[in-house]
Amino acid sequence: MQPRLRTTAIWLGLVVAFLLLFQLTRREAPIATLPFETFVEYLDQEAISEVRVEGNALDVELHGGAHFRVLGVLAAAQLEKLSALGVIVNEGPAPKGLAGVIPWLLGAVLALAALLFFVRKAGAGQAGVLALRRSRHRVVSAPTGVRFADVGGCDEAKLQLADVVDFLANPERWQAAGVRIPRGVLLEGPPGCGKTLLARALAGETKARFLSISASEFVEMFVGVGAARVRDLFEAAAKQAPAVVFIDELDAIGRRRGSGVGFANDEREHTLNQLLVNLDGFERHARVVVIAATNRADILDTALLRAGRFDRRIVIPPLARADRLRVLEIHARGKPLAADVSLAALAALCDGATGADLEGLVNEAGLLAVRRARADGAGTLEIRHEDFVQALHPAAGGFALRFDQVDALLIESTTRLTQPTGRALVRLTLVEGAVVEGELIWADAVFVKLRSENGAGARIVPKLQIKSIEPLAGTDWAHAELQPNGLR
């Protein structure tokens, strides 16, 4: 129906409903008692349609539907006139008829409508509660596009996970040996070290179903929902076996029980208890392996870590130099590197960087290269060494500063000298034998910047190239013990 037409119909319907209702309930309204002369007047105007005689009162209805009562008795002449006009004259109390029933009927209909409304609403609520109890896991069925080859380093973790892949593919081989493959594998390591990436690679390697969920998705406002979701998740996994269940950020529900401040978090503990039961409740042939990742393994409940649950803990160590090189190579794949970029040198510079740091570094360098190329209007786009250098700078999103002796020198020269000069004049001896002198004006994790005294401008030197550093005459060093002799 046209909206305009619908509106008109609703208006008409409501107006008609009002008029009808008014007409029907009108009789029960306390009727105005008017003087008898009014009746005579209306009689003269021939405006009367109906008269009901009730004792010594007259109920008078006019043609327009108006209704009133007069006290008095009809004279014979008036009765004659009424019948001459064709006015209906009745006697006795008015029949209740339809008018008496309608309001009741209306009430019943309305009550029924309200009941239906609430029942339906309650029904919807029920469905909503049931939906809450469903696990929110995602089934990764399409290839993730990540394989173990795409993960640099983490060799031990890859080895362990490859066992899992093989177990799910050829269980007979493992069962023949009578061994029990770990049912739970806990990946732990600092943020960005590649836990989730490993899981995705596992999903890419295995032919088993891969169910992925974040532990925080078990958590809901309502008590009992978390445990219900855990049950649902494991039921789904068992139905689709062989399957891998990956629970990210396990510490969201795996926190040690009874450790809340003041009071325990009951709901989280229910969820954890359910998880513990489900981890241990599998029959051996269920062919479901649970992988979990966390960066707070120290706060996990000890029951989670016992044998038979997450008994295989894979700590992902910081990347060694060779690993960093492989990670850099993986991320540099398909990127236009300039000839002056040495990934090996970069890998050496990025001591302590995680996989995510390195990915960020390469990406940032790429972004900078695009920006530089756009500014230059250069036709060919390539990522140069200078882009990586800039990307390493903390202000540009590189990784954190580490305090070292260069920083100590800078602080010393500005605050702690007997007569602070505010300047740190130093002589740097570089690895290849060159000597640089100047004022130390800036330093970060990787580079120091010197402004030379003879006006030759500033120079940036990688810290790794510095063999030794000594303060120059003219700077009054208060603390002789701060004689720096080389950097870490």
Binding site: I10, F18, L19, L21, R26, P30, G64, G65, G107
Partner: protein
């Protein structure tokens, strides 16, 4: 004729139906005015319609009035002054869009009185006190007059406060907006207070309207 008595439910329906129609007009007027000023927010939400169903608030429009609470509200029409046409000042436009609601109610009330007068002049029997048409027109007139007056009270979130916003000097704006926090209290006091004192603001405000109605159609 607000309450012809009889069955309580029928009686409430007899005030509720005109109320529903009046609220529809009120909300439509806000939306229409905002649309004319360039803001199509309400129109795109389907609120620029006289269809009462679009403006119903389950609690304020249905439950409370039918339970006999002499207070209610409809779903508010959103107005976004940022979308006004460039030549419309935002404050003035806001006030105009706010004023459109009560003004539309006064218009409906006047229309009902005019129809009543016309009916009394042309077909006296049709609009006699106690006839359905008379009931409809008087109820419409009274309800709309009440809605108009009530909404012009300058207490947030009533329309009157949005109109008053424009007239508050820049200097007093912070104080004015600070007072807004107490608005619900003030509104409650206004609704409940007179009842305690034994006076009815509405009886006072609607007295003239009732006199007018009586004068038009005896």
């Amino acid at each position: 004729m607000l309450d012809p008595g009889g069955d309580w439910l029928a009686g409430r329906l007899l005030t509720w139906i005109p109320l529903l129609l009046s609220l529809a007009v009120h909300e439509w007027a806000h939306a229409f005015c905002a649309f004319q000023l360039g803001d199509d927010t309400a129109a795109r939400l389907g609120r620029m319609t006289l269809n009462p169903l679009a403006h119903i608030d389950p609690i304020g429009t249905v439950a409370l009035p039918l339970l006999g609470v002499p207070f209610g509200w409809a779903k508010p029409v959103p107005v976004n002054p940022v979308r006004f046409r460039r030549e419309v000042r935002m404050g003035a436009g806001m006030a105009l869009a706010a004023a459109a609601g009560p003004l539309s109610n006064f218009a409906v009330a006047l229309l009902a009185v005019a129809l009543l007068a016309a009916g009394a002049a042309l077909a006296p029997g049709l609009v006699l006190d106690g006839s359905p048409l008379h009931g409809l027109l008087t109820t419409l007139a009274l309800i709309n007059a009440a809605l108009g007056v009530f909404n012009l009270i300058p207490i947030p979130p009533l329309d009157g406060s949005r109109i008053a916003d424009v007239f508050v000097p820049e200097r007093l704006r912070p104080a004015w907006h600070g007072l807004e926090a107490y608005a619900p209290l003030a509104l409650a006091a206004l609704l409940v207070g007179p009842a305690f004192l034994g006076v009815s603001l509405f009886a006072w405000a609607l007295g003239p309207v009732q006199q007018l109605l009586r004068a038009v159609a005896p």
